[in-house]
């Protein structure tokens, strides 16, 4: 197919990239407090995402270490460690809430706030006031959560009485999240042309924001109801004490979809990177559009299995409550099928980004498959749901799948945000191995414990569970070390990475847009009236023809590229940086490899 002109209006003029960089300390501080540039805002969220990762990860490591050092079926005496039984469950609460609403939400927002204007070509920060306010409310809310002394996780099982400060903290945090979601939607719609359509990554993000925006409203309603009830501590008896089941439905029916929030934010980017790595258009762009719509509906039915104990007619419970939850597996399996078909035999470059991507897909498949047995029956659901089996499931879905997807995307876009090439692929691969193996060990240990009947959120257990606690502890520390490697890599990239020329538009945006358009051409759904970005991108790529006969190729001797992180660090810190060092770096095959 011949090249066709792209019907768009070309790149924006000026734009926030021309926004002056702050040069004084005061200017930098103001920029952190109130970022007017979408890239700066994204970078700020990324830094806060990392801070939350370390904070919540530290809580997790304390819990795993203590359980790993348990003996004869008991934890070490808590008093010897300087805290009480309540503190143990408080740390568990903080680990879950901060990891979820801090790390995953903030990092996901960071990626989305950068990706949407970059892909659309608007390069505009739509409503910085709303976005900055939302971010700082989330920060305040999470700090308040960690000072609230709550021990109940985020299950909010009324009539348990959590401290009022906890509900107020959650209120602040959810208002902040809602503001961020609204401003992200504004990013997607600002300056939208009548003939502009959303590309796959933007479609996923918009669907996600609408679904989760609705979900958060129901959470806010439930929290306000509780705060105003006698249970909330204010003793304003307006709506009386919430009914247990009604409250649970109000809280979870729409908010259970929040577990997918992070995964959907990067869902479209995942598809794009599969195309870019395999150098092929996606197997079926149209089916992915259907999948986006189906996921939007089904995320809201995931909660329904919690209705198993509700006094509803049994046939409704069987048909609706159980099947409605199971069926979300169908669009997910379809999505991964399409991705894996596209990747098949494509001989991609296996760097850390792709490794994380494939591991994330595997994590979702394994985590989802092991969740399915929970659903068919209330009898199995509630006996398994309250064991460590579910803790294994949530770690599969949140750590290996969602955070794994984030790492895959971050290794691609974070260097661009920093305007530096990634400092070390070696460290990145160590991060991949440590994270995947470490979290895999923890998840497997949890699953075995659950299968053997260990109830979650426990302090005492039979000794048969102890080896698995030790395995989980080792896995957690390995994952923790790998995250330190990730943070180090990012810091070194920022400080010592080779500078890259400031490009007008990242290559992956053009490649993604072109390959997505090619998918539509292949499926016969291409319409030249519509544009998906302001950037000009090639339309009508021809797939490489497969040769009739495959001639055996001469083996090519691999070039061994030295990539010693230690050498690099030594070189960077050898002050003053002599001409020799710089020249040496130029001729270093390891660095040359990175500069490709």
């Amino acid at each position: 197919m011949a090249q066709e002109p792209v019907p768009n209006n070309g790149p924006p003029e000026g734009g926030p990239d021309s926004h002056p960089q702050p040069t004084t300390i005061e200017g930098i501080l103001w920029d952190i407090l109130y970022s007017k540039n979408y890239k700066h805002f994204s970078l700020k969220l990324f830094c806060f995402g990392m801070i939350w990762l370390f904070v919540a990860g530290s809580f997790g490591l304390v819990l795993r270490t203590q359980a790993g050092f348990s003996f004869e079926g008991n934890l070490l005496p808590l008093e010897q460690l300087g805290y009480t039984t309540i503190a143990y469950f408080q740390m568990m609460t903080y680990h879950a809430v901060v990891m979820f609403f801090g790390t995953i939400f903030t990092t996901g927002f960071s990626i989305a706030f950068y990706a949407v204007p970059t892909i659309r070509g608007t390069k505009k920060f739509a409503v910085p006031q709303l976005a900055n306010t939302g971010h700082w409310l989330v920060v305040a809310g999470l700090l308040m959560v960690m000072g609230s002394n709550s021990q109940y996780m985020f299950t909010f099982l009324v009539p348990l009485k959590a401290p009022s400060s906890f509900y107020v903290a959650e209120l602040v945090q959810f208002i902040g999240d809602e503001l961020l979601i609204i401003s992200l939607l504004a990013q997607a719609y600002v300056d939208k042309h009548p003939n502009e359509k959303f590309s796959l990554p933007v479609s996923f993000i918009v669907m996600d924001c609408v679904a989760m925006g609705i979900g958060i409203i129901t959470i806010l309603s439930a929290i306000v109801w509780l705060i105003l009830s006698p249970l909330g501590g204010f003793n304003i008896d307006v709506f009386a004490i919430p009914n247990v089941e009604v409250f649970r439905a109000a809280f979870w029916f729409e908010s259970h979809p929040l577990v997918y929030f992070g995964a959907f934010l990067v869902g479209g980017l995942t598809v794009w990177f599969v195309m870019i790595y395999s150098k092929r258009p996606i197997y079926s762009e149209r089916m992915i559009r259907y999948i986006i719509a189906i996921l939007f509906v089904l995320t809201m039915s995931v909660y329904v299995h919690h209705m198993a104990t509700d006094p509803i007619p049994i046939w409704i419970r069987d048909v609706f409550a159980q099947v409605a939850t199971e069926i979300i597996a169908v669009p997910f399996v379809l999505l991964w099928t399409i991705c894996l078909i596209t990747l098949k035999y494509s001989k991609p470059r296996w760097d850390a980004s792709l490794l994380f991507l494939v591991a994330a897909i595997a994590g979702n498949i394994v985590g989802g498959a092991t969740a399915e047995p929970l659903q068919p029956s209330p009898a199995t659901d509630f006996t398994i749901h309250n064991t460590m089996w579910i803790a294994g499931h949530i770690h599969f879905m949140m750590a290996t799948f969602t955070l794994g997807s984030f790492f895959a995307v971050l290794y691609y876009i974070a260097p661009e945000l920093l305007q530096r090439r990634l400092y070390s692929q070696g460290l990145a691969k160590f991060h991949f191995i440590g994270w995947t193996v470490g979290m895999g060990a923890l998840e497997a240990a949890f699953k075995v414990q659950g299968a053997e009947g260990l109830v979650r959120r426990e302090l005492v257990w039979f000794s048969i569970y102890e080896p698995w606690f030790q395995m989980a502890m080792i896995g957690a520390w390995l994952a923790g070390l790998s995250v330190v490697a990730f943070a180090t890599n990012m810091l070194m990239t920022w400080r010592f990475g080779d500078p890259i020329a400031p490009g007008v538009v990242p290559k992956w945006v053009i490649a993604g847009l072109a390959l997505e358009e090619q998918s539509r051409i292949n499926e016969g759904t291409y319409n030249s009236k519509y544009t998906y970005s302001r950037w000009p991108y090639p339309v009508g790529l021809q797939p490489l023809a497969e040769p009739e006969t495959v001639e055996p190729r001469e083996p090519i001797a691999p070039v061994i590229a030295r990539q010693s992180v230690l050498d690099k660090v030594k070189r960077q810190f050898s002050f003053p940086r002599s001409r020799k060092n710089i020249d040496g770096a130029e001729n270093d095959p390891g660095r040359a490899d990175l500069r490709q």
């Binding site: 021990q151 089941e245 099947v323 009898a379 006996t383 064991t387 009947g453 109830v455 048969i464 499926e523």
Partner: protein, 200 residues
């Protein structure tokens, strides 16, 4: 083959697989007792199907932070004695917050091979049916005991009292004259009633 055909066929296969998973488990998901699966549980409600006897009936009250059986071992409300090979209908309720009535059959209690339980939600009455079938070896080694735990986090106090220590014991005795005598002795004659008719 066209892409649309491939993906449509795959979608149908996945959808059918999900339905099959549900259908396979459907007999299990029933509030009545299913002999083949040895379980039945649900929420007491108007359209509950009739339960065919014989059943032993045990009431369980959950509260922060203990289980109370009725009937129970004399002087020990957190322990009860039931006979093997007669399904036990546990009628579970909560006096305060949400709890989980969870019978752990792991480790030394692994004679059942599967855990079972029901939620105890304030305002509702849940029930679960189970037929204890310990092996002969379990009786001789004293392992026909079953450990009951609260499986829904219900809070702790700073002094160490609370959810992790909310547990109880079920003793299972043989379904013969020796077992009946043991049961009656331990429970001071106040044994669980056995219903032979249809419980509606």
């Amino acid at each position: 083959m066209k892409r649309r055909t491939v993906l449509l066929a795959w979608t149908i296969v996945l959808f059918v697989a999900v339905l099959v998973l549900e259908v396979v488990y459907t007999p299990y998901d029933n509030s009545g007792y299913i002999q083949a699966n040895n379980v039945g549980e649900g929420v007491a409600q108007a359209d509950r199907p009739p339960i065919e006897g014989p059943y032993q009936v045990v009431f369980v009250t959950c509260e922060q932070w203990q289980f109370t059986f009725y009937p129970h071992v004399a002087g020990a409300p957190t322990a009860t004695v039931v006979q093997a090979n007669i399904p036990v209908l546990f009628i579970v309720r909560s006096a305060d917050v949400t709890h989980g009535f969870y019978v752990n059959t792991a480790g030394a209690f692994a004679t059942q091979g599967f855990q079972f339980g029901a939620m105890a939600v304030p305002g509702y009455i849940d029930y679960v049916v189970w037929n204890f079938q310990p092996t002969a070896a379990a009786y001789t080694s004293g392992e026909s005991l079953y450990h009951v735990q609260c499986s829904e986090y219900c809070g702790v106090t700073a002094s160490g009292l609370g959810h992790p220590w909310m547990d109880a014991i079920i003793f299972v005795v043989p379904n013969n004259s020796t077992g009946t005598t043991m049961q009656s002795t331990q429970m001071d004659g106040n044994v669980p009633p056995i219903l032979n008719g249809t419980l509606t």
